[in-house]
C-alpha cells in the first residue's frame, strides 16, 4: 500500500516478513539464552513457562531462526559486498556517531556500518549454530572437551550477537524515517538522498 507515489520502495513484503521472522526468533532466543547466561537473568525463563521449557525450546527456536537467517543471507549478501567507499566510511565512523555526516562518503543502499553489521551477524550466527549443536545435550553427545569449547563459543557469540542487534535497533531508532522501511517497505525521497545518496540516484535517476 503506497499512499505517496513519490516514496521509494526499499524492501519487498517478502523481505520484510523474512526480517521479522528472524527478528522475533532472535528476541525469543536472546531472552531464553540470557536466562542461562547469568543468574541475574534467570527469571526470564518464566516467560517461556519455566527453566525446563526454556531449555527445551531454545534450541528449536535456534534451528528455526537459522533456517530463515540463511534465506535472509541469500537475499541480502550481494547488496552487502564491501567496497572501497565502505571502508572509507567505516574509517570515519567517529564523525558519523558524533552527529556530523556532512563529510561522509556517498553511500549506496547500505553504508559501511550496515554492511559490517551484516557480516558480523553472519559470523556470530555461524558460531552460534555450530556451538549450539555441540551443547544440545538432548540431541547430541560429542566428546566432553568439545562440549566445553562449544559452551564458551556459544556464550561469547551470543553476547556479541545481542550487542550487535542492540546497535542495529538503536541505529534504526536514531536515524529518523528508517523503521518504516521495515514496517511497510518505503522511505521518503529526502531520507534516501540524505542517507544513501548513490542509491537515491540509482532509484530516481536524479
Amino acid at each position: 500500500m503506497i499512499r505517496d507515489p513519490k516514496d521509494l520502495q526499499r524492501y519487498t513484503p517478502q523481505e520484510r516478513a523474512n526480517h521479522w521472522v528472524v527478528g522475533i526468533s532472535f528476541i525469543l532466543l536472546a531472552l531464553s539464552g540470557l536466562a542461562f547466561f547469568h543468574p541475574a537473568f534467570y527469571p526470564l525463563t518464566y516467560l517461556f513457562g519455566g527453566g525446563t521449557w526454556a531449555r527445551i525450546l531454545h534450541p528449536y527456536i535456534g534451528v528455526f531462526m537459522a533456517f530463515f537467517f540463511v534465506l535472509m543471507f541469500l537475499r541480502f549478501r550481494k547488496l552487502n559486498a564491501m567496497t572501497k567507499t565502505d571502508k572509507e566510511w567505516l574509517s570515519r565512523i567517529g564523525e558519523m556517531v558524533d552527529g556530523d555526516d556532512h563529510n561522509m562518503p556517498e553511500q549506496g543502499k547500505y553504508n559501511g556500518g550496515q554492511k559490517a553489521m551484516f557480516w558480523a551477524s553472519v559470523v556470530c550466527m555461524v558460531l552460534l549454530v555450530v556451538s549450539g549443536v555441540l551443547i544440545w545435550r538432548a540431541q547430541f553427545s560429542p566428546p566432553l572437551e568439545l562440549v566445553r569449547f562449544g559452551a564458551v563459543v556459544h556464550a561469547v557469540a551470543g553476547a556479541a550477537m545481542i550487542a550487535l542487534i542492540m546497535i542495529h535497533v538503536y541505529a534504526a531508532i536514531w536515524v529518523k524515517g528508517t523503521i518504516r522501511a521495515m514496517w511497510y517497505g518505503t522511505v521518503t525521497r529526502a531520507w534516501a538522498k540524505q542517507h544513501h545518496r548513490a542509491w537515491y540516484r540509482e532509484m530516481t535517476g536524479k
Binding site: 562440549v147 559452551a151 564458551v152 536514531w174 521518503t188
Partner: protein, 295 residues
C-alpha cells in the same frame, strides 16, 4: 534430593549467601582400593537404599556391570587388570561422585538451587530444580553426572545425604563386607587412611598414598591407592583433576563482564540519543528533493 536447608555452603546460580546458620563437620567416605574384593555389595546397597533399579543390561565380557554409570546406577565398580613387576594386579575402583570441595558441576549449573554443597562437603543435586541442560556434565572433571532418558534430569551419588543428615553412614559403607568403605569426619578418614598407607608401604607398595586431589579443592570421597603415583592405572582416575579452564572461562568473570558490556551498549545508545539528538533529514535536503520533484 535431600532436604537439609540450614547448612548450605554453596548453591548453584545464586549470587547471594545460601542459608548457612548451621555449621557441621566435614565428612568423607574413604574407599580403600587395596581392601576391595569387587563383590558389588556397595552397588546393591546403593540401589536398595535409593530404591532405584537400573535395567538389566548385557555382559560385555568384563566384570564391570553395569558397564558405566547411569541415571539409575550411581556407583559402579571398575575392574582393571594391570601388570606390575611381572605380577598381575586386579585393581578394582568403586567409581561415583567424588563430592569435590570445588565442584565443577555446581559452577556450571545455570538453574538456581539445582545443585547445592552442604557444609559437610556433600554435593547434592536437587532434581526438582534441574532443567536438564547437562551443563553439570560439562563442568564435572570426573565425568560423573548422567542425564536420565526418562525425565531429562541429572542424577548422581548423593553420598546418602539423607542418611548422613540423621547420623547414618552411606548405604555402600554400611554394606561393605571388608571394611574397604569407611565413613566419618574427613579428619578421621585421613587418619585412618594414613594407617592403611603405612601398612601397604610395609608390604612393599612404597608408592601407596591417599587420593584427595587439591586441584578440585580436595574431595569428600577419598581413595587409598597402592599406586598413588599413577592413579590413571585405576581405570583412568585423573592424576591431577581440575575444573577445565574452558569451564572457568565460561562461568568465571566473562559473564558478569559481558552482562555489564551489554548494559553499557543499551545505556550508551540512550545517552547518545539524548546528547546528540535524532539523525533527521535536513531541511536543506528536503527542499532539494522537493525542487527535483517539481522539475
Amino acid at each position: 534430593m535431600a532436604l537439609q536447608s540450614l547448612d548450605i555452603k554453596q548453591r548453584s546460580a545464586t549470587t547471594t549467601p545460601a542459608p548457612s546458620v548451621r555449621k557441621t563437620a566435614e565428612v568423607a567416605k574413604l574407599i580403600d582400593v587395596s581392601a576391595c574384593i569387587g563383590c558389588k555389595a556397595c552397588q546393591a546397597a546403593c540401589m536398595e537404599w535409593n530404591d532405584i533399579r537400573d535395567e538389566v543390561g548385557i555382559n560385555y565380557g568384563v566384570y564391570d556391570n553395569p558397564v558405566d554409570l547411569t541415571a539409575k546406577s550411581w556407583t559402579v565398580m571398575r575392574f582393571a587388570e594391570v601388570e606390575e613387576k611381572g605380577r598381575l594386579e586386579w585393581l578394582i575402583r568403586k567409581d561415583g561422585c567424588m563430592h569435590c570441595g570445588d565442584p565443577g558441576c555446581l559452577k556450571a549449573c545455570p538453574a538456581p538451587g539445582a545443585i547445592v554443597q552442604y557444609a559437610n562437603g556433600i554435593v547434592d543435586f536437587h532434581e526438582e530444580n534441574c532443567i536438564g541442560c547437562g551443563y553439570c556434565v560439562t563442568g564435572c572433571p570426573f565425568n560423573i553426572p548422567r542425564i536420565s532418558k526418562e525425565d531429562s534430569k541429572a542424577y548422581k551419588c548423593t553420598l546418602c545425604s539423607d542418611r548422613v543428615a540423621v547420623g547414618q553412614a552411606p548405604a555402600c559403607a554400611k554394606a561393605c563386607p571388608t571394611g574397604a568403605i569407611q565413613f566419618g569426619s574427613k579428619e578421621d578418614m585421613k587418619d585412618y587412611a594414613a594407617k592403611r598407607i603405612g601398612d601397604l608401604k610395609e608390604r612393599g607398595f612404597d608408592k601407596a598414598g591417599l587420593y584427595d586431589p587439591a586441584g578440585v579443592g580436595g574431595t569428600h570421597v577419598l581413595y587409598v591407592l597402592h599406586h598413588a603415583d599413577r592413579p590413571q592405572l585405576y581405570n583412568g582416575l585423573p592424576a591431577d583433576p581440575g575444573i577445565s579452564p574452558l569451564v572457568s572461562l565460561w562461568k568465571g568473570m566473562a559473564k558478569p563482564l559481558a552482562s555489564l558490556a551489554l548494559g553499557a551498549v543499551a545505556l550508551g545508545s540512550l545517552f547518545h540519543y539524548v546528547m546528540k539528538g535524532p539523525n533527521e533529514v535536513s531541511k536543506e535536503t528536503e527542499k532539494e528533493v522537493e525542487k527535483e520533484g517539481s522539475q
